[in-house]
Symmetry: C2
Subunit: 491 residues, 2 copies
C-alpha cells in the first residue's frame, strides 16, 4: 500500500513506533523523554477530554487548578508516597539565568538558588491536601469533589511515545469525604466511569479489579484499576482509582467537625487517566495499514475524496460531495471534504487509511451519473456502493456498526488470549508461547508474587472484581487461594 | 451587607485582593508566587477557554502540545528573546531525590545532575521553532496554524493573584507563513479576535494598538496589543500578538522551498492571552458588594432562592422554582436552584452578590399565591416583580441587557477617564490627579519614552491603530510627532 509500515508480525514494537509517527500523532522532542503531541493526536485527546470531563461533571465533580511545583518538604510528608516517586522527580533549584562573566554564553545564576527546592509535580496529592486543610472545616464542606487537567513529570529512563514519557498530560481527581464508606464508593464509582468510558467510547474492553499490595499507588490503601489486553499479548493499565484512607489527611492535618461536633480526619480518593490511553487505543484496534479509530474518537469520522480528470468533473463531483457533506453534518457527523488538487486520490486513500478515518467516500464521474457513492470502511477495509440519496443515514448507522464491531473484535481477541492454568509449568508455557491474560491461583503473599515476577517477568495485573470466587491452591506454593488472579507481562 | 469587603475608595488594591479570595476565585498556595485557581474561578476560565478555542478553530487553527521543558541551549538561540526572559526562569538541574545518608530526610541526589539544565517554559517559541524545522519543508506545509493551551512559569518577585503569578495558564499561538504580508495579516487578525472576544464576551472595552520598540515582546519586530482601562485609572494589557519576522526561523534554521523552488526562511507570529484576563474582568465590572460577572462568562447566569418557613411553603416555592428552572434551561440559560436548608435566604443573597451571579430570583409564599417572582439584577442592584408566566423570556432579554449595560458602563468610564493633553505639565497633573488613559504627542524616541517613565511611572500603552493621524510636537522635547499615543500607569 506504499505505507512503508513495518508489519505487526515482523516487529510489534517497531510497528507501534512507526505508526505513531506516520499517522501524525506525536513525535519525540529535543528534550529527553518529552514528546510533542501533534495536532492530529491532540484532536483525539481533546475528544477524550471532552467526554471524560462531561462524565466527571455529571457526577458532581468540578475542575480547579493547583501549582505545578511542590516544595520538597510537602512532598516528603507522606512516607510511602515519597518512596514511590522520589527516584523520578525533576527538581527546580534555581530561578534565573545570566551571562557567564567568562563569556561562555548563558549560565544558571548561582546566586539565584532557591531556599527550598521545588519538585515538578509527578502527581498532586501533596500540594492539593496542603490546600484542602484550608478548605475543609466541617462536614458541610464535604464531600469535596475536584478534578484537575494537567501536565505531570516523571523522570523515566526508558521512554516510548504515549506509553511512557517524562512529561505527560492527564486528569487527576482528588476527593475528600466524611466517611470511609463514602470514599470507597467514590473510588469504585470512578473505576466504573473509567471502564464505561474506555469500553463505550474507546471500544477497548477492560477488566476491573484491585491491585495487589505491591502494585498499589504509593500512599493508597486500595488501588482499583482497569486492565486492557494489547494485540501483542501484553497488558496495559488503562486507569487507576485509589482509596487513600486517611493517609494524606493525617500527613497534612486535614480534620473536619462531624455532625456531632467531633473532630475527625478526612477520607480521601484520587484517580487518573492519561495520554497513555492513546497508546492503548493504537495497540487495540490498529492494523498493518495504520491507525484504526473508533468513530467516537475520530476527529474526522468521514472523509470525502473526489475523483476527476478535468475541471468539469471536478465541479460535478464537488457538487455531489458538498451536498452529501451538508447532509452528514446535519446528522451530527464530523466530515471532511478533501478537494486539494496537490495530491492524487490514491495518495489520499493511503493517507486516510494510515490515519484511521472510519469511513472514506469516493465520488467519481460515474457516480455522479449513476447517483451513487463508494463507501469504504476502515475497520474491515471493505467497500460498497450506495445510492447517494440514502448514503447519509446509512453512513450514520455504519459508524455505529464500526464502533460496535471494533469492541466486539477486541472482546473476541481477549477471549482467545485469556487462559486459565492450573500449574506453574503450564503458566510458564502459556506465557512463553502466547502471552495474554493468564488466570491462576496465587497464595496472596508479596513473596510469591515477587518470585513469579523475577522468574517470568509476569505481574499480577489485578484481582478481578467481576469474577466468581473459586478457591484452589497457589500454582507455586500450593497454599490456599480464594480465587484466581490475572497475570500478564505488561506495558 | 455583611461582606466585610474593603471598599474601592478606601483601598483599591486591598479591595481586589479580598474580592478574589471572598468570591472563591483563587488563593495563594504554599509555593511562592503560585496560585490555586478555585473551582468557581476555574469555571470562569473554562468559559473563556471554550469561546476562544471556538474562535481559534473557526479561523483554521489547531491545538497541539509541546514540552514543558526547554533545553538551555535552545533558549539561548534567539539573542533578544533570552535577554527578555533569562532573569525570570525556573531551572531544572536534577532529576532525582534520595534519602540523605546523614539521616536528614530527603535530599536532591547530587549524582542525578542533568547534563544540560532545562528551563521551565516562560513561553514556547524556542521549543516550537525547533520542532517546526522538522515539519516545514515546502510552501505546501504553510501556513502552519497552531495553538497550545498550557501553563508557563515566569519567576516574578512581586506577585498578585491572576495579575502576576509565577505560574499562570494561557494559550499561545505559534504560526508559520510563506510571506511577510501573510504573517503580518495573521498577527493583526489575532489582535482583532482578542479584541472581539474581550469586548463582546467579557464586556471589557479595549484599545487596539502597537507597542513601542522598548515595550515589544523579546524577539518580535512588531507587537500588536489590546489595552484596557481599570477602575483605578491604571491600564492593563489584555492580550498581545507578535509579528516575529524571520527571527526564530533564522535562529532555528527553518527554511521552506517556495513555489519557484527557492529556499527561504519562514515568517512567524505568536500571540497569547492568559488567566490575567480574570484580573481585568474583576477590575472592570466589580463593585463594593463583590464580583460582577457579564452573563456570557457567568458559570451560573441565574440563581433561584426559595423563601419559606415550613415544609408546605418549601414544597410550594420549590415547585414554582423547578418549573421556572426548566423553562430557563430550555432557553439555554445556566441556572442553579439553591434549595439548601443549611443557609438562610439572606446569607444566600449575600453570597450570590459577592460571586457576581447576574440575575437572582427569589420566590416566597406570596409569589406562589400571586403567580409572581422577584428578579434582582446584580449589575444595577435593582429589583422588579415579574409574572411567573413571562419570567423566562423576560430574563433571557434581561441577560442580554446586562451584558450590554456592563460594556456601556465600561465604555463611559473609559471616556470619562481619557484625557488629551498638550503639555508635559498638564500630563503630570492629569496623571497625578486622575490617572486614566492620557493621549499625548511623543517624539518617537526610546530616550524620551524612558525619561517620561522614570519621571512619572507612566508608560506608552500603545500607538493606537484606530485613531486619526494628527501631527504635532512632543510634549517633552518639542520634536515633531505624527500622532498622539496613549500613556498610563499600568498593571
Amino acid at each position: 500500500m506504499g505505507k512503508n509500515l513495518t508489519t505487526r508480525a515482523e516487529d510489534y514494537s517497531k510497528w507501534y513506533n512507526e505508526l505513531v509517527i506516520k499517522a501524525d500523532l506525536a513525535e519525540n522532542s529535543g528534550v529527553r523523554g518529552c514528546m510533542v503531541i501533534k495536532p492530529y493526536g491532540f484532536a483525539i485527546w481533546e475528544r477524550m477530554q471532552a467526554e471524560l470531563d462531561r462524565m466527571f461533571k455529571e457526577t458532581g465533580h468540578q475542575n480547579a487548578y493547583f501549582p505545578l511545583f511542590i516544595p520538597k518538604s510537602y512532598f516528603s510528608k507522606e512516607a510511602s508516597h515519597v518512596d514511590g516517586f522520589a527516584k523520578e522527580c525533576a527538581v527546580v533549584t534555581h530561578y534565573r539565568l545570566k551571562n557567564d562573566p567568562d563569556g561562555n554564553g548563558i549560565i544558571v545564576d548561582p546566586e539565584a538558588k532557591l531556599e527550598e527546592e521545588l519538585i515538578v509535580r509527578p502527581t498532586s496529592e501533596t500540594i492539593i491536601w496542603d490546600t484542602y486543610r484550608k478548605w475543609i472545616q466541617s462536614y458541610r464542606d464535604l464531600p469535596l469533589l475536584i478534578n484537575q487537567w494537567a501536565n505531570v513529570v516523571r523522570w523515566e529512563l526508558r521512554t516510548r511515545l504515549f506509553l511512557r514519557t517524562a512529561e505527560f498530560l492527564w486528569q487527576e481527581g482528588h476527593t475528600a469525604h466524611a466517611t470511609k464508606d463514602e470514599a470507597i464508593a467514590e473510588a469504585e464509582q470512578m473505576m466504573n466511569i473509567y471502564a464505561e468510558f474506555v469500553e463505550n467510547f474507546m471500544a477497548i474492553p477492560v477488566i476491573k479489579g484491585l491491585k495487589t499490595e505491591s502494585e498499589r499507588f504509593a500512599g493508597a490503601l486500595e488501588t482499583y484499576c482497569i486492565e486492557a489486553l494489547m494485540q501483542d499479548g501484553k497488558a496495559l493499565q488503562a486507569g487507576t482509582s485509589h482509596f487513600l484512607g486517611q493517609n494524606f489527611a493525617k500527613a497534612f492535618d486535614v480534620k473536619f467537625a462531624n455532625k456531632e461536633g467531633k473532630q475527625d480526619y478526612v477520607w480521601a480518593t484520587s484517580w487518573g487517566v492519561s495520554t497513555r490511553l492513546i497508546g492503548a487505543l493504537i495497540m487495540t484496534h490498529s492494523d498493518d495499514n495504520g491507525l484504526v479509530l473508533p468513530p467516537n474518537l475520530a476527529p474526522d469520522q468521514v472523509v470525502i475524496v473526489p475523483i476527476y480528470r478535468d475541471d468539469e468533473q471536478f465541479e460535478a463531483t464537488s457538487n455531489v460531495a458538498n451536498e452529501l457533506m451538508a447532509e452528514l453534518r446535519s446528522l451530527g457527523i464530523r466530515v471532511k471534504f478533501d478537494n486539494r488538487d496537490t495530491h492524487k486520490p490514491g495518495w489520499k486513500f493511503n493517507e486516510y487509511e494510515l490515519k484511521g478515518v472510519p469511513v472514506r467516500i469516493a465520488i467519481g464521474p460515474k457516480d455522479v451519473e449513476n447517483g451513487t457513492v463508494e463507501v469504504a470502511r476502515r475497520d474491515t477495509l471493505s467497500k460498497e456502493m450506495m445510492n447517494k440519496s440514502e448514503a447519509a443515514s446509512a453512513i450514520k448507522e455504519l459508524l455505529d456498526e464500526i464502533q460496535k464491531n471494533l469492541f466486539t473484535k477486541a472482546i473476541d481477541f481477549r477471549k482467545e488470549n485469556t487462559t486459565e492454568v492450573s500449574s506453574y509449568s503450564e503458566f510458564k508455557e502459556v506465557l512463553e508461547s502466547n502471552g495474554g491474560f493468564i488466570l491462576a491461583h496465587w497464595d496472596g503473599t508479596p513473596e510469591t508474587e515477587e518470585q513469579i515476577k523475577n522468574e517470568t517477568k509476569a505481574t499480577i495485573r489485578c484481582i478481578p472484581i467481576d469474577a466468581d470466587d473459586a478457591s484452589g491452591s497457589c500454582m507455586v506454593t500450593g497454599k490456599p487461594s480464594a480465587r484466581k488472579v490475572i497475570f500478564a507481562k505488561a506495558y
